[in-house]
Symmetry: C2
Subunit: 387 residues, 2 copies
Amino acid sequence: MQNFVFHNPTKILFGKNTVPLIGAETVLFGKRVLLVYGTGSIKKRGLYDQIVQSLHAAAAIITEHGGVQPNPLLSHVHKGIKLARENNCDVVCAVGGGSVIDEAKAICAGTPVQHDVWKFFTGKKSVKNPLPLTTVLTLAASGSEMNSGMVITNDATSQKFGFGNKQLFPKTSILDPTITFSVPADYTAYGAIDAISHVLECYFTTTDPYTPVQDRLMEGIVMNAIESCNRVLANPDDYHARADLMWTASLALNGLTSSGLGKVGFPMHMIEHSLSAFYNVPHGAGLSAVIPGWMRFNAKLQPDRFAQFATRVFDKRTGSIEEKATQGIEALGNWFREVKSPTSITALNIPGTDIPKIAANAMTLAKVWRMRDYSEEKIEAILDGCL
Amino acid sequence: MQNFVFHNPTKILFGKNTVPLIGAETVLFGKRVLLVYGTGSIKKRGLYDQIVQSLHAAAAIITEHGGVQPNPLLSHVHKGIKLARENNCDVVCAVGGGSVIDEAKAICAGTPVQHDVWKFFTGKKSVKNPLPLTTVLTLAASGSEMNSGMVITNDATSQKFGFGNKQLFPKTSILDPTITFSVPADYTAYGAIDAISHVLECYFTTTDPYTPVQDRLMEGIVMNAIESCNRVLANPDDYHARADLMWTASLALNGLTSSGLGKVGFPMHMIEHSLSAFYNVPHGAGLSAVIPGWMRFNAKLQPDRFAQFATRVFDKRTGSIEEKATQGIEALGNWFREVKSPTSITALNIPGTDIPKIAANAMTLAKVWRMRDYSEEKIEAILDGCL
C-alpha cells in the first residue's frame, strides 16, 4: 500500500424528501447564489420549482445559469463565470448530473481568478479560493457530487480535459433517488457503466501489488453496480434499487477506492474523451465501446490481476489464469450488451479510418495527465481492438 | 435503504514517515496542546520522543496527560479535563489505540462544559464546542481515529458506556503502520476481531431488508480483516499486511458501512462492555467470547441473512439456508480459535453463576442505548449460549 491522504469533507444528505434542504445548506455560504442546471429537464419534472422555492425560503438571491450541455463546453463555463462575477455570487448551487456539477466546479474555480479557467485544465495554474459549491444530483454516474474532479470540453480546440483540486469538493450534496426515477433505460445503463469504469481504471492501473482491502471494496462496488442497474432496468420506479445504484456510483469515485493505490491512470477515460469530443457520444456509451478492447489489450500484460477480477466479480473459477482473465472480460462485455450499451467503436458508427485522429487527440490529454506509458501507436493498437 | 447523512471530515495521513507531521497538523488549532497517551509503551518505542519533537518544532506548548488504561476510566478522564482547563489547552493530541483516543474525545467534550462529562454518556446532555482533536494511531482495532464515538468505563458505577457526536471526529489522524510492528500477536488478533465485530453489529442488526452495496462493503471488510490479520501473525514486520489491517479497521467503523442501514444496535458490544467492566478483559477477547453465542442465538431469527454472510465471506455454498448459516458461524469461530482468541466466556474463566449479574449490568446500557429488543432474560439466554 502506498502512502496517501484521505480527506473527503463533502456532506451527503441521502434519501427521500431531502431536496427541500438545499436552500438552508446553500445559504450557509452566502445569499447570492449562482444556480447552474442543464437543458431543461429539471423544469419538466418539477424539480426546478422545488429548488427555487427552497432557495427563496432561505432568502437567497438567485442568478440563473441554465443550458449546461452533456459533455459541458468551456464557452458555456465562461458565460457562467461572467454571470457569477457580475452578480457577485457567494456560492454556486448545481442541480443536475455529472456534466452540470462539473461545469459548476469549473465556474467555482474560475470566478475568483484573473486568468482563463482553462489554465487549470492544462496544469498551468493552481486553484485559489474557489467559490463554495452545493449540489442536487439527478443522475447516478459520475461521482462528481462527492469528489473534487471535473471534465470540460474546450470547444475551440476539441479537447476534453479533466482536473481535480481538494478545494473543489462540494460542501453539501443532496441525493434523492426518487429524482432518478425518470432517467431512461439507456442513460441509467450509461451511468452504471461510468461508475464501473471509475473502479476499473483504479483497479487495473495501480502499480502497487498489495492493495487487498481496496480490491475487496472495488470488486464489491462493481458487482453491486451491475446488480442494482439490472434491478432498476427491470423496474425503473424501484426506490431501493435506484437508491442502491445512486450511492454505489458515489462510492465508486469518492477517493475511497483509490486511497493507497499510488498513482493511477484513467486511460479508458482518456480515450473515451476523444470520442466524446469528436462525436459527442454519451460518456457511458463511449466508455463501454472502449472498455472491452482496452481490457483485452491489458489482460496480456497482467493476467493475474484480470483473473482475480474474473473470479471475484463474475465467479469464474475454472481454466488457466489467462482463460479466467478472458472469461471475466467477456462477462463484462456480455453485460454491456444486455443493457444495450455498445461494445465497440464500430457500434458507435466511428470508422476505423478515424483511429489515427482519435489517438492523436487522446495523446494531447495523455501528456497533460503525464501518462508516460501511452503513445499514439499504443492507443491506435487499443482502438484497433475496439473495432 | 434508509435516509442518511454521511459526513466524515477527518483527514487521514496514512503511511510511512507520517508521524513528524503531527506537530504542524495539531497547532493549526492552537499552540497549547494536551498530549494524551497510555501507560508508557510509546516511550519504550521512541514514538514519544518523535511526537514531542514534532510538537516542539511547531512551537506547541505541551501539557502531558499520560497513563490512560485499556478500558479507560472516567476518573482519569476527569484528571485530563482538569489539566486541560488549568493549562487553557486549545487542542488535544492523542497518541495511542482506541482507549487513548476515546479518553481524549471525552476530554475534548468535557473540558468546555460546566457539568460532569458522564452526562454525555447517559444521554442527559449534548456536546457543545468541544476542543479539537488530532491523533496518532498505534493499534489497528477500534476505528476511533476516524469516527466520532468513544467508550469510557465509570469506575464508580462499573458501567462501560459509549456515545458519539458529530463534533467529535478527529480533525486529523496519522496512521503509520510501522508503529504497529511491535503489537504482539494476541492484541493484533483482538484488534482484528474488534474491527470485524463493528461490521457484524451493523450487518446483523439492520432492519432494512435492502442494503446491497453496504453488504458488499461489509463482507469485503470482514474477509480482508481475516486475511490481513493472518498475514500479520505469520510475519509481524510485513509492512503491507500491517497497512492493510490498519486501514481495514478504520474503514470498519467510519460511517461508511452503516450509512443507509437505519438504526443499528451494538448488542455484542453491549454485552462485552459488561465483561470488560467486571473482569477487565481485553475488549477484543471479550468480543470473541460473545460473538459466536450471539450469532447462534440470532441466526435462528434471520437465517437468510446469516446464510448470505456464510456464502459470501466463507464461500459456504452447500446445504440448507440454516446449514449454511451454521457453517458461517462455525467458520468464524474456528478462525477465532486459530488466532488464539477465546470463543466462550468459560475460556475467560467467567463462571456461569455470574451471568445474571452481567445481564443486569448490560441492561443498564441497553436502556441508555434504547435497545428495546433486549431484556435481562434475553441477554441471559445469549450468555448461556456463550458458556
